[in-house]
Symmetry: C2
Subunit: 427 residues, 2 copies
């Protein structure tokens, strides 16, 4: 059953529950055909280090390595959905509790991701088949983006407050030392970004996709700049404004409930942390045009985004249930933002492992809040989100996903820094 | 007259002298048509801040800005070559002494480059026309590369010794402090590269395109690594081996007179400084394949190269007379090296202004050695090289050229550094 939540999102869109009800399960034993198809499917996945057990007790394990976990497929219809919808089928049936993982969920998703990366590196038919199963992201027109962003970011501030850091940073943190707390690492990330932008008091900063506004407030408070921050999530903007008011920063930070494409004015810095994933490659050139229109002659721009080494769509289940419209670009694809406008790329850094670590903190906190989350939504939602967070850890650990920070400036700007030492010297 | 030089290069290939002898000049005044075509040409170049004076005293200056220098076209055939061959015509006639710049040559080339960048940023017909005038680089097959590299790098070690630093570094230096000497900056560059590669004693390093071998010896001496360095320039390899012998590094550094495509073995680091410009975009995927074949599972790779913000061929005169086969790539083009092999880009840095500063040092030293260079080659060679060095300063100052250092590792390598602080903490 779907409970009410704080922001009137239909939770069944996240869990897949109730959308296509399964028929009562037939408890007859698995057939020879079902077993053969399952074996073929596992082989096409590169024989991940998992054992699969069907509702009738039949099981199948990899021949070349020990199984780390057992995946129980408890109904025939779950198996069918797995055959037909692959990742989406798995995600929905896992959320529904009809596929159950015995053992560590993280071990399972890492094993799956490892196999997938092996296959991708080899290429060939298996890889081509996996690509067929991918799901095109939903479009990010002005209207499309609103719906896509609402789906995820308007799940309710009280939900995110349960397991994010106190400043509600829902993007990759920065761990110069792996033992620091999530709060410290999120603080370090904000400073890392500000140092890369070389902010100085009085600077005008534009932010596209500001989340709950933590970076904007940090910049205003610690670097004495004026920030205009755009976001199309009502819930986030409402929180951000309230928080700025409370911290006495309303004069320095303006939160605009609007699309980044309507950004206007001239700025000494442009920053976007964790928005590009939602922009869509077709709109990159337009995003570059917005930056080109708004950046001063000696301005700096920074884009922080999840990315890929090779082009590939987002996991189909993640795109369908968790992040509609999302796509993590390669650096090559990101060139559409800068190349048409003769921007000079000054600095690219890859923080992949930092995102794995950030997600580990989130998952840990999420698990501790399991009861509260289930109370707020339902058990299926808890399982869906645990799968999403674990799967993301696996993706960063196995290098299926990257985290790029890219700094650029106008090509003709000779005031660019001679060294990046300033990023580190303040530590 | 072309004098003997140390390495039996036909200097007329550099200066263009004697290749297409001009007929005796007709001293009749410039015609109305000639003046009109000249005016149109200057307009299509964006009216650079220069005055042009013809052999008969007729001159033309920009209407919108003061002229910084006067360019004297002293013969009718020089003007014709300018009309027909544009950049190549200018370079050859300048080298021949038939086009003379009154004022600072650097002011002239900067003015020309500024105009060009203005036009490129605007786009349109003028830009399209400039592209037509570009010259496709000569091919870099195994044989083609040999001829191309021989043309430039085998001009004679005694020539390069006149104006390079003591360690014969013929690539962009690193000026963490702009006031340090060229020697200090080249030393800083070597360390910058080594720190990015995180070299540790005992590491096996492969170097592709090692110049006079300075980086290889530096790595062996200061970082305790074993280096195998490839180069197809006889002159450079002979010098490098002699120097390694002298410094007692012959056991740690092996210089191989061969193409990087024949690189063999397994290495903890791959490095290439200033070679990619000579590789040709068609061979990038193959270069990536060489790195993929040779890099250990936890190895680091660094490519240091001149590049562009937007794709454009090398200056036609530079490609014809100075660097046959050369092409400075965009970051997008460089992705052909890494993307097919699932390499993760860890770090990109742009050192554009450092190359302008490096070239200023070189030009200054070159000018001081003018008599010796003229003695070694001839006056036309001196002028050709002064134009090349000045033009390169202008290209980096106006952002027509970039300098990228790109660090990457295998996608699945989780031993990559968490921060880049190590690059700066040793300072």
């Amino acid at each position: 059953m779907t409970k009410n939540n704080t922001a009137s999102i239909d939770v069944s869109q996240v869990t897949g529950l109730g959308q296509d009800r399964v028929s009562a399960d037939v408890s007859s034993p698995s057939t020879a055909v079902e077993r053969r198809v399952l074996a073929k499917m596992l082989k096409s996945f590169g024989e991940p280090a998992i054992r699969v057990r069907l509702w009738d007790g039949y099981d199948i394990a990899p021949t070349s390595k020990p199984a780390l976990v057992t995946v129980n497929i408890t109904t025939r219809s779950s198996l069918k959905k797995l055959f037909i919808q692959q990742g989406v089928g798995f995600g929905d049936e896992y959320a529904a509790g009809r596929i159950i993982v015995d053992g560590d969920l993280l071990d399972f998703v890492v094993a799956m991701s490892e196999s997938r990366m092996d296959i991708e590196e080899k290429g060939g038919i298996a890889e081509a088949m996996m690509k067929v199963a991918q799901r095109r992201p939903r479009v990010n027109t002005l209207e499309g983006s609103k719906a896509n962003i609402h789906h995820h970011y308007d799940l309710g501030n009280s939900f995110y407050r349960l397991w994010l850091d106190e400043k509600m940073q829902y993007t990759c943190a920065y761990f110069p030392d792996q033992t620091i707390s999530l709060e410290q690492a999120q603080h370090a990330k904000l400073d890392h970004v500000c140092r890369k932008l070389q902010l100085k008091p009085g600077d005008r900063v534009a932010e596209a996709g500001c989340g709950w506004g933590g970076l904007a407030r940090h910049m205003a408070q610690h670097y004495g700049v004026k920030v205009r921050a755009y976001n199309i999530s009502h819930e986030q903007v409402a929180f951000a404004r309230e928080q700025a008011e409370r911290e006495g920063l309303s004069d320095s930070v303006e939160y605009v409930l609007d699309d980044y494409r309507n950004l206007d004015g001239k700025f000494d810095a442009f920053v976007s942390v964790g928005m590009l994933e939602h922009v869509g490659t077709k709109n990159y050139c337009e995003l570059g045009g917005v930056i080109n229109r708004c950046l001063s002659d000696s301005g700096r721009a920074l884009i922080h985004t999840i990315g890929r080494n090779q082009p590939r769509l987002m996991s189909a289940w993640i795109e369908k249930r968790i992040f509609p419209g999302a796509y993590p670009p390669t650096l090559r694809e990101m060139m559409d933002i800068v190349e048409p406008y003769n921007f000079s790329i000054l600095d690219v850094e890859n923080l992949r492992l930092h995102y794995a670590k950030t997600l580990e903190h989130w998952l840990d906190r999420f698990d501790k809040q399991e009861t509260a989350v289930a109370e707020m939504f339902d058990d299926a939602f808890v399982r869906a989100w645990r799968l999403y967070l674990s799967g993301s850890i696996a993706a960063f650990l196995t290098s299926s996903l990257q985290l790029f920070q890219m700094v650029f400036a106008r090509g003709r700007d000779n005031t660019v820094p001679w060294s990046r030492e300033h990023i580190y010297s303040a530590n």
